[in-house]
């Protein structure tokens, strides 16, 4: 119940294309769903996040779509750029019971110039 399943494991997209990463969760007690971006040699950095009372959130080229009934959420990167090449992690957390955040296994994105 504590797992967050992420797909695909890796993704290659042409410059200007749309990158889509999907995640699924089981525990309906999660109330915060962030996405983190990690570059080699660095720690993950918070990219964008959503709460389950909202179906979509957009920040610049990054959009989260959230489907509460299906317990799924996805990250869309519009107009993908070579600088977006990184590993992306979805995550889920809950405030009640200790604020633990659970991470997906990650998606390695490569944007071809």
């Amino acid at each position: 119940q504590q797992q967050v399943k992420q797909s695909p494991q890796s993704l290659i997209v042409q410059k200007g294309g749309i990158s889509i990463i999907n995640c699924a969760y089981e525990n309906t007690a999660f109330d915060y769903f962030p996405w983190y971006q990690q570059f080699p040699g660095k720690g993950p950095a918070l990219l964008i996040a959503i709460r389950p009372d909202v179906s979509e959130k957009k920040e610049g080229r990054f959009t989260i779509s959230f489907n509460k009934s299906a317990k799924q959420f996805s990250l869309h990167i519009m107009d993908s750029q070579p600088g977006d090449s990184a590993t992306y992690f979805c995550a889920a957390s809950r405030g009640e019971g200790g604020f633990k955040t659970i991470f997906g296994a990650g998606t390695r994105l490569f944007v071809k110039a």
């Binding site: 962030p34 720690g43 604020f99 991470f103």
Partner: protein, 111 residues
């Protein structure tokens, strides 16, 4: 404004030894969480400290222990190191569960 600071950045230890990793949280953050990230994997939750006490713990053995100091900084201690403990250890600070600020991590290699 400094973010999360971790030290050392790299460390090589021998099997059976003990190691201490350190973390200074972002200014204003009172909660520190530690994660282990194996190569090519997502961060795995080790434990979280708040008000100098361990608030939550993941599925890690008792060889992993920690501490939080009154200034909110934290240490992660690992005893009896195994080869499988080789990983990037990440410290994250926060005030709530709404988004962490991560440090760049400590790369631990056990030989």
């Amino acid at each position: 404004d400094a973010g999360v600071t971790q030290s050392p950045t790299h460390l090589i230890k021998t099997r059976g030894q003990q190691v201490t990793l350190r973390c200074s949280p972002k200014s204003g953050h009172d909660t520190v969480s530690w994660y282990q990230q194996a190569l090519g994997q997502g961060p795995q939750f080790i434990f979280q400290y708040y008000e100098e006490e361990e608030r939550q713990r993941g599925n890690f053995p008792d060889r992993f222990s920690g501490h939080q100091f009154p200034n909110y900084s934290s240490e992660l201690n690992v005893n009896a190191l195994l080869l499988g403990d080789s990983a990037l250890y990440l410290c994250a600070s926060s005030t709530t569960h709404y988004g962490y600020t991560f440090g760049s991590g400590t790369r631990l290699t056990v030989v």
